[in-house]
Amino acid sequence: MGQGVLLTAGAADIDFMVHGVFSYELFGQTVWITTTHVCVLIVMLVIIGFCIAANRAVKHASDVPGTFQNIAEMVVEMLDNMIGGVMGRFSPKFRNYIGTIFIFILLSNISGLFGLRPPTADYGVTLALGLMTFTLIHFNKFKHKKVKGVVAELCDPWPFWAPINIIGWVAVPISLSLRLFANVLSGTVMLALVYGLLAKFAIVWPAALHVYFDLFSGAIQTYVFCMLTMTYIADACTTE
């Protein structure tokens, strides 16, 4: 009985869904601006602010770097090392893209710590990221291996195996985006349950959960997403 009261008391407060902020009509369709859009906008503004500040710091760069210049250089150097280590001689072309999505996904995952609903806990965001990776993979495949090489890869063991290969290609962006989405969503749901059901007892200890679900899990998933994207693209560029 006591437990039942404890667990049902705050059931109305559990809230991890995406909410509509306002809607408008576009070509006869109702389109919603949701909390995800707002959170993506906030994350973007933070990144843009950092970029402008970093640009200013680098323009007035001094021989003995200040704190901010040091941080900006460290971030760029770290990303360059990571990308160079995985992609080797293909890395100069993809540095911008991988660095951008790395910082965006990392800040999106961490934004749960600042009370936002993480944008990556919406399938629309992660599917877009997955589709960008998919486009890059196949654009580079056609660019480096030409149509002949792609057809040869399609009919890898035997020609009638092509449908299975196509399913394998399509599964790449889906599994990439679902992995990121489900990880961030599970953290969001878990924290929403803690705050909704145990509201009276959630005083300081949820901080530990935030460290695990937002910081640790978010950073690992960012790394995994970028690592897999880099591996797939490098694989598409390689010609024997």
Partner: protein
């Protein structure tokens, strides 16, 4: 009739959601095996600890995916309710 049907489908959806998260067994075993082998590797070659740890975490994060698919099915059954007419 309609109300009974809806409630019946909701109850079955809840059971299905419970069955779906049993998928968590697989990644649990897999991650445990990965961590065990990583511990053995560090024991043999303590100098490579950071490399082994990062490789282990990458592999574990990828292995976690199947369990998360189960979680996803459970969430769909409970909150999106695709089976309720």
């Amino acid at each position: 009739m309609g109300e009974f049907n809806t409630n019946f489908i909701l109850g079955c959806s809840a059971i299905g959601a419970g069955l779906a998260v049993i998928a968590g067994i697989g990644p649990g075993v897999g991650q445990g095996i990965a961590a065990g082998h990583a511990a053995a590797a560090v024991g043999r070659n303590p100098g490579a600890k950071s490399d082994v740890t990062s490789t282990m975490l990458l592999g574990q994060a990828v292995a976690e995916t199947t369990g998360l698919y189960g979680l996803l099915i459970a969430m769909l059954l409970l909150f999106v309710k695709p089976l309720v007419p």
